[in-house]
Symmetry: C2
Subunit: 304 residues, 2 copies
Amino acid sequence: LKKIAISVGDLNGVGIEIALHAHDEIIKFCSPIYCINETMLNRASKLLSFKPKNEMQLSHVEGAFQIQSGVIDAQSGLYSYCSFLKAIELTNSKKTDALVTLPIHKEAWSRAGIKYKGHTDMLRFYFKKDAIMMLGCEELYVPLYTEHIPLKDVASTIDEDRLTTFFINLHKSIGDKKVGVLALNPHAGDGGVLGSEESIIKKAIENANSTLDNELFFGPLVPDTAFTPHARKNFKYICAMYHDQGLAPLKALYFDESINVSLNLPIIRTSVDHGTAFDIAYQNKASLTSYINAIKAAISLNAK
Amino acid sequence: LKKIAISVGDLNGVGIEIALHAHDEIIKFCSPIYCINETMLNRASKLLSFKPKNEMQLSHVEGAFQIQSGVIDAQSGLYSYCSFLKAIELTNSKKTDALVTLPIHKEAWSRAGIKYKGHTDMLRFYFKKDAIMMLGCEELYVPLYTEHIPLKDVASTIDEDRLTTFFINLHKSIGDKKVGVLALNPHAGDGGVLGSEESIIKKAIENANSTLDNELFFGPLVPDTAFTPHARKNFKYICAMYHDQGLAPLKALYFDESINVSLNLPIIRTSVDHGTAFDIAYQNKASLTSYINAIKAAISLNAK
């Protein structure tokens, strides 16, 4: 069985309860190693009045604090960071085969003085590589050209060289898949009337196809019609220029099934495709689907 | 039966074929008046080798030219404009109860020297009112705060007064409906880390609710999770800050069913939610669903 390092996420959110509830199921197909100490695991378990039947293997992460369900808290933020760091180290040193992350809270990280905006940002720094964030499921994958930046900053990131490199790196990770590339502007700019970045995207697509000597990247596609049932028949991979452009339609269609994958890194990392869900934390009702799919995807990517 | 003025759209596209094929069906629940002359109607009908069983009532629109299926053409652009203008006049003078538009081609309008970007833009000018564009169907309606502008210009339109007025005008048109309002930035700005426009949106929501003395506007909602099956249970109306934010998930979910409604105008105008579809014009295969839904919505809005 593949060994999977699991970072527990923000303990004030739904992550740990998902891990506890899924444990008896996932040990059928992997060996999970949870990056948390026994005290904190017991506190969470007690709050939930729930314990899995089978023993959980832990990798100790120092720290102790009071869990406050649904609260943005610096201590909880720091602990989720340390759990993640431990899981990276285990996987990078080959003690585990892959890394699956449970959700952290970005503001809790910020309050804890952590300068990274999230998991992918931190991985990028740790490995000094341009990690690519991709969300999705078997039916539809959405790689993101930009991720956690304000909307007003998106247009200025559209750069021919940067986009070309992004497409080439994406191809390295996913192989010879056809990728539909979204335009930036409504109606793909309508011939320049509604914005002009489409000409840059078009050039980058041509560069990438020419470098790869293969017609794999297509577009720029009109963003609001690229996800219709008819259009989805053309592409299983739809590359978005920014976060909500790709993730709003993806989650409208495949919310429960979707997972998050980090591509273009030396290690394999997958994640659930939802946040800390503070509003329903510690109510024993969070869905396990995305987490279990994330573990399965980590194993399947590892087998490649 | 309500009288519906129908503007025939660009005659080189799918509009007129949809009107011809749907005629025998729609006369069961309305009296359509087609803004076209007999010569042009006959030319389209002949090209399609199709004629409805029941007679069609026409309102004469001057002009004659050769129909060229799938071609962007100034004459065809001009004719679609004149048909639209006639339909507005019929409805504004109460000769008809509502206006339903078939798709025009924006570039054909531009080539014909027409300065408006589309139907909504023209209505805004004609009535000197800030028309609100809303797309959707029974299950989900998406009013748009901004429409056909480049993505880079969206953030600077987020203004407290302008947004407040928009919410109040929207309420005037749709009545006491609960409306979920999307944030501008990913994760609704994540407490300011990913953008700060959410504080402005929040204030405008508070202003509108306070003016209306009713809690009708909610948010700002995290954009990429507002369209999940679970979240859609909360709001049938989801207001988007920009075009693709709202329309990509809407069309992913309800492409065939959706229609386009112009709100905040002295007349009722609905439209199909698709373009001229030049690639399949004059093949007798365009879907009638959006058009029939648009007529039904016009009648139902008229009954209010």
